[in-house]
């Protein structure tokens, strides 16, 4: 790594090797395991993170969520999802 990653609609986000996603039955939520850290994801973040698998662009990912949650405006979903993933990217838990 040598430059700050800035996500945009064409980025293809994925988790880096050190971050492992899994559903934890004991805590009943999705979690990301990373060195010295455990992220417990809320229900919405859990939905989003499952689509972060290195196959979808951010735009496609937002489209899928917009179809699924059709009561929310796409622009709002895009803003929230981008902010959430950028936050994880700044901490090194999402790469593209």
């Amino acid at each position: 790594m040598s430059e700050r990653l800035l996500l945009n609609s064409t980025s293809v986000p994925r988790l880096p090797r050190h971050a492992k996603l899994r559903f934890d039955r004991a805590r009943d939520c999705w979690i990301i395991n990373a060195p010295e850290r455990v992220f417990e994801l809320d229900a919405i973040a859990g939905e989003v993170i499952q689509l972060v698998d290195g196959t979808r662009t951010l735009a496609i990912l937002v489209d899928e969520l917009a179809t699924k949650y059709n009561q929310a405006p796409r622009a709002d979903i895009e803003r929230d999802v981008t902010a959430m993933l950028q936050n994880l990217a700044d901490k090194g838990f999402v790469i593209a």
């Binding site: 790594m1 040598s2 430059e3 700050r4 990653l5 880096p16 090797r17 050190h18 492992k20 899994r22 934890d24 039955r25 004991a26 805590r27 979690i31 395991n33 990373a34 060195p35 010295e36 850290r37 455990v38 992220f39 417990e40 990217a89 700044d90 901490k91 090194g92």
Partner: protein, 384 residues
């Protein structure tokens, strides 16, 4: 340990403030188990967090006992297994344990000095499912680093860090900083970037065990510390998205104590080479506690019912001013080992808190900080 709060974690002792999660029966679920596979280590760091009474190899529990511990950990809802020591790579069965843990679903982390690593071994560990490696450094300059470690290993460590990245494993550089190397903090940050680490952990010496014997040799001055904090803050902005830096201010200069291990018996279990289960790696310094052994009792029973885990769990044990303080479930009254080491009273507020009745015990060491540097007492069996 739990992020959300975004607080720094410190490999040497402590973790982010969090209250922990409970299951449907309202029992606490631990997050991680620290497996101290051995106390054997070629290095002799004078700030080692191992107890002053080191376990000998003949007392180490065997592969099957460790595997059983790891399986039980998964059943308890534990998410991570950290393999440390001593130097965990002296155990030839490390791969077997990593594979067992990884297959069971645990996130696996190796905490090593790196001096015994080879590319072939790293490949085997990666193939066994190892998720992450932490390599510790004593300094950036080999002469000083080797003097601190009591071992000629600095060059080998740099090589090991490169091997970790060559094996495509993620790397954290661990640096324990103190008055004899803080002036190289900027170089340490640059070295972590150059080694392609994703994380740098700037830990401070925690003063109990071996480190308490060497306190005057390690405790930085307030000015050194302020400079270090400035450097870290600047680097965090500059290296955002490139290198994550965890940084913990030494207790002695803090106004509030750190939440030790996220609270006693709330998030972690530490298992010694001989199989004793501790609430924290330093807990054996509380010599009045009795620790259960994994060869004699189920891990879940020990976590839930053992006297050692319940002795300082929650807030009932607390004295004033903690008992009525609104931070009592944030820092949990601070470190019990530190309170005991500094005052002789394990039930008193950690002197690192400005409200502590025994705060004055820090005046002497802080007053002497920056004075003459004594010789190290090196970590060796028989030197305690």
């Amino acid at each position: 340990m739990i992020d959300q709060a975004d607080a720094p974690a410190n490999a040497q002792t402590e973790c982010a403030a969090a209250t922990g999660t409970s299951d449907s029966r309202n029992r606490l679920i631990p997050y991680a188990v620290l497996c101290e596979l051995t106390h054997r280590c070629p290095l002799q760091c004078p700030y080692c967090s191992n107890p002053v009474e080191l376990e000998r190899a003949s007392r180490e529990i065997d592969t099957d006992a460790w595997k059983s511990v790891l399986s039980q950990a998964v059943d308890m809802g534990i998410l991570q297994a950290h393999f440390s020591g001593g130097e965990p790579t002296v155990r030839k069965d490390l791969e077997e344990m990593v594979e067992h843990a990884s297959k069971a679903g645990l996130y696996t982390n190796l905490i090593t000095s790196g001096v015994l690593l080879t590319p072939a071994r790293l490949d085997r560990l990666r193939d066994a499912g190892l998720d992450h490696v932490q390599v510790s450094f004593q300094d950036t300059e080999s002469e000083n680093a080797d003097r601190i470690a009591g071992f000629r290993g600095h060059a080998k460590k740099q090589e090991a860090a490169r091997m970790v990245r060559a094996a495509d494993l993620p790397l954290t550089v661990n640096a324990v900083m103190h008055r004899q190397n803080l002036h190289h903090l900027e170089d340490m940050i640059a070295m972590a970037v150059e080694l392609d680490a994703e994380r740098l952990e700037v830990a401070q010496v925690q003063y109990y065990g071996w480190a308490l014997k060497n306190r005057q040799a390690f405790l930085p001055t307030r000015d050194q510390l302020d400079e270090a904090t400035r450097i870290v803050e600047e680097a965090r902005v500059r290296l955002k998205g490139i290198l994550a830096i965890d940084y913990v201010v030494p207790d002695y200069y803090a106004r509030r104590p750190k939440s030790c291990m996220g609270g006693w018996g709330r998030q972690f279990l530490n298992i010694t080479p001989a199989g004793k289960v501790l609430p924290c790696h330093a807990a054996e310094s509380l010599d009045f506690l009795e620790f259960e052994n994994v060869t004699e009792r189920p891990l879940a029973w020990i976590w839930e019912h053992s006297s050692a885990f319940n002795r300082f769990r929650g807030t009932d044990w607390m004295p004033e001013p903690c008992r009525s303080c609104d931070r009592r479930e944030i820092d949990w009254g601070g470190c019990r080992c530190q309170a005991f080491a500094l005052t002789g009273d394990p039930d008193t507020t950690d002197p690192a808190c400005e409200f502590a009745p025994q705060r004055h015990v820090l005046e002497m060491p802080i007053g002497e900080a920056g004075g003459e540097i004594p010789e190290f007492v090196y970590r060796r069996i028989g030197n305690g």
